[in-house]
Symmetry: C2
Subunit: 331 residues, 2 copies
């Protein structure tokens, strides 16, 4: 391995000077910098991240905590998050959260992470408090825990929900159902609350039997659709907690030969790339998913630099995108 010592020797300077020259320290002469850079290039040297990390007391690595890497939603977050982090000179490390694994703060220490993006926080999670107590910088992505203040980027469902509900009413839907996300997530809670409010404003309610809850995954949608159908044919329109759930619904419908939207209209939330496929054309509540992910990257990195800055909560707007899974109700 070629180290800064080797470069120093070749350039005829001291090792610390190599360090300064390569980080473009202002009080190093241009001539020296040039010499050092040249030597570095000649040897194919690049700074050892581990040495630097130990020296400055922290790495440039950010952990993304996800529950389920297979989930398309997270899969779609990773690319923009990684890109933005890289642009900012940081690395992405994936951390899966499983009951079996060690407590998060210890894993953060073990991995030598500078900060963390939490994308799977439940309302009752102890993680945020633990991270805060240990002084680990973190940001909430898409979700938030009520007790612990931290930078956050989330999405405001209101506009999107208003738009789809207005559309549903206009089309004549009266029996609307929902497969909401888990009750112990801020995202699930908020979306449900907004849906109920807006429906209420239109004099519509959600019948108990037409409401389901479950994790934001494919199976929730698939099983949910079947359950709903058994209850007197099911609602004529079902609002899903997110796109992955809606995709589960769509596939279950296809399996049972139920035509969408003729028999049942389906609405998602997130507007994943897959939802735009001609094969799918899911009507959904959209927002700038890539930007949301990128923003969370910016927030952690900013927090690293200014640990005591005012906490920021950035909220992205949503809107309804009509595609092919919503029509007038069956009669």
């Amino acid at each position: 391995m070629v180290t800064s010592r080797d470069v120093a020797r070749l350039a005829g300077v001291s090792q610390p000077t190599v360090s300064r020259a390569l980080t473009d320290h202002p009080r190093v002469s241009e001539a020296t910098k040039r010499k050092v850079r040249e030597a570095a290039r000649a040897l194919g040297y690049s700074t050892n991240a581990i040495g630097r990390a130990l020296s400055v007391g922290r790495s440039n690595r950010i952990g993304l905590v996800v529950a389920d890497l297979e989930n398309q939603f997270y899969a779609n977050m990773i690319a923009p998050l990684h890109d933005e982090l890289e642009r900012l000179g940081h690395e992405l490390v994936l951390i899966t959260e499983s009951a079996a694994s060690a407590p998060l703060p210890e894993r953060v220490a073990a991995h030598g992470l500078a900060g963390v993006v939490l994308s799977t926080t439940t309302v009752d999670s102890v993680q945020p408090a633990r991270l805060r107590d240990r002084g680990v910088p973190f940001v909430y992505l898409n979700r938030v825990a009520p007790g612990v203040r931290a930078d956050a980027v989330t999405v405001d469902p209101e506009t999107g929900v208003r738009e789809i509900v207005a559309e549903a009413v206009r089309l004549g839907h009266t029996r609307i159902g929902a497969i909401f996300g888990p009750r112990n997530t801020s995202t699930g809670e908020l979306r449900e609350q907004v849906v109920r409010e807006v429906l209420d404003e239109h004099g519509l309610g959600l019948a108990q039997r037409d409401v389901l809850h479950g994790p934001f995954d494919f199976d929730t949608g698939r099983d949910g659709f079947r359950t709903l159908r058994e209850r007197a044919g099911g609602p004529t329109l079902v609002l899903c907690g997110n796109d992955v759930v809606a995709l589960g619904v769509l596939n279950a419908a296809a399996e049972s030969g139920v035509p969408v939207p003729e028999h049942t209209s389906v609405v998602g939330f997130d507007d994943l790339p897959t939802s735009r496929w001609a094969l799918v054309r899911l009507s959904t509540i959209a927002y700038d998913l890539d930007e949301v992910a990128r923003e969370s990257a910016r927030l952690v990195v900013a927090r690293l630099r200014e640990p005591d800055a005012e906490t920021a909560h950035i909220v992205y707007p949503t809107h309804y995108v009509a595609r092919s899974t919503v029509s007038a109700p069956r009669t």
Copy 2:
């Protein structure tokens, strides 16, 4: 931050003893180990990965080099790879390969990586040689570069191709087309060669106008389908370089209202989870994708431990999975 010094103080031993106790060194008394573990637990201590990495001369971090994180194929590799690596006590770092970025070996050094999984190697790539010259342990995943020997896990298309071709012949297809992967990848090359051979055995050929090449992505399939169609209606069956390409084809067909398989049959390669959706039901050549990813994790880790061991090339078998995108040709 709590360090091994703090633990040492609390346990009333020296710092090196803490290190030994926690790594379960055989020549530390059980009593001491117990004392140290307890102190560590009390303080919420866990070994600092950076300190350890610097000390032992390398980290436990493995880089996965991908070209395109958005690509579903890679997205599906990440989860099993990550899980297996974690199981083996290693971390996954994502590295995107872009023309703009620094040479790979320098990035590996910069990231302090122990080894690398190469999943995007082209036949003419300089990366493998560079990594080899720098002594960076790496394995090929799914692809291989001819010049440089290294551990590899790949897939043998033969059985799968034989099965689908036999089926196509049985159904009466005579005008078969293909959208192959890039010519400069071993995967693309091999699949094309096998397809040509097997077709040949059946006395069938691939007409020049019915053959396309392109990156293994969605757009290749979408554009490819359109191009093929313009040429006298196109082939009655198209073999795709992989599932992502086939998915592009399927969506382009849906967009243009071309019924699959009635008008055109479509075959993929990889059997991604999405291909199994009721909405999709892609007939494809399948293999154990998760196992392939996991195996590559095992290979790098093994290589770390035994740098001079015999090089291993593990090949997984394929088979054809008939679903809903292949039928008798239109007449």
